[in-house]
């Protein structure tokens, strides 16, 4: 039997890059990276092509027939589209139905969350709902919070080279567990999930390890020998900040720092206060549990990852976003 042909959107992004690597390492897939026509000549895509990845142009703003043609002969379609482009999946899902895609994996790849908390998540939910109206076979995969965004700075500044997300204050008492995954392991899980009949038309939650902010701080202090100041922020403070930033966004709806602040505080509430990034809450929402499905995945332990961080060997992500994150961080803390 021929290998299943996987179409991957977003192969040059952080999540898509991990998925591409996972699919290649699995070895069981015929992979096609789908990219915007005008992006095919960009360096990142040329690099993929040079590595032997089949490339296809996909213009989600073009006519449906062209999108359907770009999906020809693809069995499994994975969308790791940019966070800001979620609604571009509307024509994608409609074309996937026409193209008889056997499994559509719409963009999720984050923390489990109910509807009505977070705009970006709600946009993803719009795509899930459209998928279901289309009766399109699907799998939704959430992967928890990334190792890469999970830890605070050190007072010495020695790990600033890799800090990607503000974790300078600890939500609530700091004892709420959060499911963490090394971004580099995301693709391993995706490769397992998409060839698994048990996950067809299901939502799956995969992750590496459960940690609390207090334990993360303890670990980083132990590995670095530095003492990290611990400032706890109560739930009400995050709620107040969400309300304030929503009010500010009314006058400056496009301001990227404000938008990031909103997402940041909403995530702190969901993940750090309400414990929504946990296997228990995911199960409550109806997810299949990744630990039960794939107990044998060989992933990087959080402790080993944090050793890389402290040893100056970790690799930063979202480099182009970091100045924005740091500005927001400075204003929030």
């Amino acid at each position: 039997m021929a290998q299943p042909r996987v179409g991957l959107i977003g192969a040059t992004g952080e999540t898509g890059g991990s998925i591409l690597k996972g699919l290649i390492e699995d070895g069981g897939f015929d992979i096609i990276a789908l990219a915007r026509p005008e992006s095919l000549s960009k360096r990142a895509n040329v690099t993929l092509k040079d590595k032997g990845i089949q490339m296809r142009a996909l213009d989600l703003e073009g006519p449906q027939e062209a999108i359907v043609a770009a999906l020809k002969d693809i069995d499994i379609l994975i969308s790791a589209i940019a966070g800001s482009q979620q609604l571009a999946q509307i024509p994608l899902a409609k074309a996937a139905k026409v193209a008889r895609i056997k499994r559509f994996v719409p963009c999720a790849f984050a923390t489990p969350m109910p509807v009505g908390v977070h705009q970006s998540r709600d946009q993803k939910e719009e795509i899930f709902n459209l998928t279901k109206r289309l009766h399109l076979p699907y799998t939704i995969i959430d992967v928890g919070w990334w190792y890469q965004f999970s830890f605070p700075r050190l007072p010495s500044g020695k790990i600033d080279y890799v800090v990607g997300f503000p974790n300078e204050t600890i939500p609530g008492d700091g004892n709420v567990p959060t499911a963490l995954t090394d971004l580099r392991d995301v693709g391993k899980y995706v490769a397992r999930v998409i060839k698994d009949e048990r996950t067809l038309n299901k939502t799956a939650f995969v992750y590496n390890e459960l940690w609390t902010q207090n334990k993360i701080h303890d670990l980083l202090e132990k590995l670095s020998g530095e003492k990290i100041p611990r400032k706890h922020t109560p739930a009400e403070e995050y709620e107040r900040k969400v309300d304030a930033v929503i009010a500010e966004l009314e006058t400056n709806p496009k301001d990227p720092v404000l938008r990031f602040k909103k997402v940041y505080n909403q995530y702190c509430l969901s993940v750090g206060i309400r414990a929504e990034n946990t296997p228990e809450y995911a199960q409550y929402l109806g997810y299949l549990d990744g630990k039960s499905l794939y107990p044998d995945v060989n992933f990087t332990s959080y402790e080993n990852y944090m050793k890389e961080v402290v040893d100056g060997k970790a690799v930063g992500i979202y480099d182009e976003m970091r100045p924005l994150l740091f500005q927001a961080l400075k204003e929030e803390h």
Copy 2:
């Protein structure tokens, strides 16, 4: 151990009445019927009280503390609230969280359907989403389409006494299966579901039998000896009618006949064309399958129910709605 205490909203309605009967026959529950303060003196509620049902006043427009007080000591809260009152469950769900309800059964009790097809269903979904934001333990129960609404008139008019829903035209080719349940059996399933740990924080689809419109017509012809004219309506015709009625509703948003027509045509598309009222589609949406959960429920067969209908022994439902339904039916057919 004390019996679980069940609070039931809508006990004098069609669905709630069946649930009340099912709970009583089960014998394993301490039942409290919750009704609006001004309704407690109405005949239907006085009848319940005379039968020994405990009654409590519940004012969903009142202050939260009063709603919480009305839910005191209730373990399982079932809402079979009127179709037009779905959003009154917002204060109910919030109070249920404060009252530490162990299992909230928000109003569903219809056919499985994706988000974005049908306003009433979408309102129910709003309540499901709120429930999940509250982290409130829940079970959602859909019961398919009622026997009582499943069949067409006979040319002789002899079963007009009990026809409750227009089925004079057959959606599509008439071979699409639809899951049917005798309204009188709904409560039997609910009694099973609410004491079942497997259904906690899950969505369950329970139903009696699968029938197609062609087979329903065949059966009714066989039982009555009459020939029923068969007019098939294609999908495009329903879509055109939905669009037309949505346009008409813009000028007359409250018109009850228009509103019913919209729902009717949307249901015909979902149930009769897209086969969404089936165990396969329910499973696709993530429902647990009632036939696997409760293979031993003793229900009325569709054939026996239809014999009652033809023999003049069936009981009509929604009597106060029938003139409206018949007016809409006349205009649609």
